[in-house]
């Protein structure tokens, strides 16, 4: 028996090995269209941005662009507007990300309890997420309008203000307006994600805690919160990345104004290109932003990599 089975088993193994060595082309064929598209629309422009960032290119005299080395990068650190933009970017990200989380966390905890009409509440709170940023901007620009704004009207009626205020006219209230708009549209996404994480916590953990005599607060503190920390950390990281390059609402509601008080790096880069048709310097500052975000992205990817067995 052994003499006949032995060689055939070895043969099978040999066939398997040779099959493994031959490269299977099918997966490469399947990924080719997506990879080629990404190479064309993302990788090539990204490399092109690096090239533009070391030139003095301007859209109106593109042919005459000259190599200027790292001048654009050095220039940024002596540029008052860039320095303001950098610190405002940080303020914008921290204030928005933290406020969204402070609202979303209790909201998700509440929506995780059972009550009449919960499904309706869950569905309707998602609406702000789907509203286009141009519409979000219009809504909140109107809410704070000097003449027709609801916020002015309500505050005057309540006696807090004696007359209508131009909210987007002063740096802090202009900032607050954009933060309000961004928080309104951003909370739903946070809430749904935290809610999903809450629902993934096994009920037995609460049972066990209750049997050990844990109070409601202790169950939250020692069961819910530790289970939520990974999701919260991921969300904050992801939001940090998104918020620091978001331009829409700031541009549409205040234009970064008054003056350049509320510029962010992304907005500054965008405005340089849009209004002055500059290409080199805005590329350089966008790349500096991207480089910082790349580090954050690296962390994010490492974390989700561990959570996905298929990666």
């Amino acid at each position: 028996m052994e003499t006949t089975a032995g060689p055939s088993a070895r043969a099978v193994r040999r066939i398997e090995r040779s099959r493994a060595r031959r490269i299977d082309l099918l997966p490469y064929v399947l990924i080719a269209p997506a990879v080629l598209l990404v190479l064309a629309v993302t990788v090539y422009p990204a490399i092109y941005a690096l090239r533009l960032s070391v030139t003095d290119a301007n859209l109106v005299r593109l042919a005459a662009m000259e190599y200027v080395g790292t001048n654009n990068y050095q220039k940024a650190f002596g540029d008052e507007r860039f320095l303001v933009s950098a610190s405002q970017t940080l303020r914008w990200v921290v204030v928005v990300a933290v406020s969204q989380m402070l609202i979303a966390l209790p909201l998700a905890l509440f929506l995780n309890t059972r009550f009449l009409g919960r499904a309706g509440v869950r569905a309707s709170i998602m609406v702000p997420w789907v509203v286009p940023s141009a519409v979000v901007a219009i809504i909140w620009r109107y809410m704070v309008d000097v003449d027709h704004g609801v916020i002015n009207d309500l505050l005057v009626r309540a006696g807090v203000l004696t007359q209508h205020v131009n909210w987007i006219g002063s740096p802090v209230s202009a900032f607050a307006t954009v933060v309000l708009a961004q928080v309104w549209t951003g909370v739903p996404f946070y809430t749904v994600t935290v809610l999903a994480a809450l629902q993934a916590i096994p009920g037995e953990m609460y049972e066990a805690a209750r049997m050990d005599g844990a109070s409601a607060w202790q169950r939250f503190r020692y069961v819910t919160l530790p289970m939520l920390i990974p999701t919260i950390a991921l969300l904050l990281l992801l939001r940090t990345i998104w918020l620091s390059h978001s331009v829409d609402l700031i541009f549409l509601i205040t234009g970064g104004g008054p003056g350049y008080a509320n510029y962010t790096i992304a907005l500054y880069s965008f405005l340089l290109t849009w209004s002055q048709l500059e290409l080199g310097y805005p590329s350089a500052i966008a790349i500096m932003l991207a480089a910082v975000l790349l580090i954050a992205s690296g962390f994010y990817i490492r974390i989700i990599e561990r959570a996905r067995d298929w990666m």
């Binding site: 009409g117 141009a134 219009i138 990345i241 549409l252 996905r308």
Partner: protein, 282 residues
């Protein structure tokens, strides 16, 4: 005593729906308010005293928006661009995602990581080079420019979401199909693809909504009404200091939002799963 206990029981069952209603109010009130403005006659909007419910209701603002701008063209453009971006990016994402989920091949891991990094790349970095590339190729102010620009985000997103989805489907059905004589591509098309329909709907809708809502690329790469999308047209009506056609603008804002909000509410069962499971949660 009994009355006190009854009151407490009543409060316990009632506070949650009341809190829920309050939350819904906060989420929807700003949007509801512009809907009210949209049906308020323009004459009533010029007074400083706000009418929270208009004494007179009109739909004139909706028609007025079409007179003030080429809103008809903007609608057509938004639909065309969003459909094209969705078809293109989901089309290439399905096959790539299937390969990433079902095959192990050299370079796979590096490619997935690169796609994620590219997904995280700020759009602002691509704005400048794309402007130059599109200008050189004569693509500024064309649908092609908008579709390609929006695909930068849509393709990595689609691949990521769908890879997650395919990876969660049981492999055994495809293996059974192959044992029964189906080819590998046949098993993918006839077995895996139909099973992945909910995931494909979710990914497609996310891409459609993102494209419909996109402002930055659409604003940067268009200069004429023939290709401008709804958000870009709306932007022209956001006033700097004061003075705006608030009635028509709000009508325009409502018309811009309703298609995506409607699609979202209709398909929310698919979307919420994708939102939390595929897109962010680790």
């Amino acid at each position: 005593m009994a009355a006190g206990r009854f009151a407490r029981a009543l409060v316990n069952t009632v506070w949650q729906p009341i809190a829920g209603a309050l939350i819904v109010f906060l989420a929807l009130a700003p949007f509801a308010w512009i809907a009210i403005v949209a049906i308020t006659p323009e004459s009533a909007l010029f007074t400083r005293q706000i009418e929270y419910w208009p004494s007179e209701v009109t739909i004139a603002n909706f028609f007025r928006m079409f007179e003030l701008s080429r809103f008809d063209l903007a609608f057509r453009n938004s639909i065309l661009v969003a459909c094209a971006v969705t078809a293109l990016s989901i089309g290439v994402s399905i096959s790539a995602a299937y390969a990433f989920a079902r095959y192990r091949f050299p370079g796979r891991h590096a490619l997935i990581i690169s796609l994620l990094l590219i997904y995280m790349l700020p759009g602002i970095v691509l704005l400048v080079p794309m402007l130059v590339i599109f200008k050189t190729l004569g693509l500024v102010n064309t649908y092609t420019a908008l579709i390609l620009a929006q695909a930068t985000h849509a393709v990595p997103f689609g691949v990521w979401l769908l890879t997650n989805y395919f990876a969660g489907l049981p492999k055994e059905l495809e293996e059974a199909a192959q044992i029964d004589g189906c080819t590998r591509v046949g098993a993918m098309l006839r077995v895996a693809l139909p099973l992945a329909v909910p995931g494909i709907i979710a990914a497609g809708l996310f891409v459609f909504i993102a494209s419909w809502n996109d402002f930055l690329f659409a604003f940067m790469f268009t200069s004429g009404d023939e290709v401008r999308t709804l958000p870009v047209v709306l932007r022209r009506f956001i006033p700097g200091e004061s003075g705006a056609n608030w009635g028509p603008v709000m009508a325009g804002a409502i018309m811009t939002t309703l298609p995506v909000a409607g699609a979202f509410l209709f398909f929310q069962r698919y979307l919420i799963g994708g939102l939390s499971a595929g897109a962010v949660k680790g």
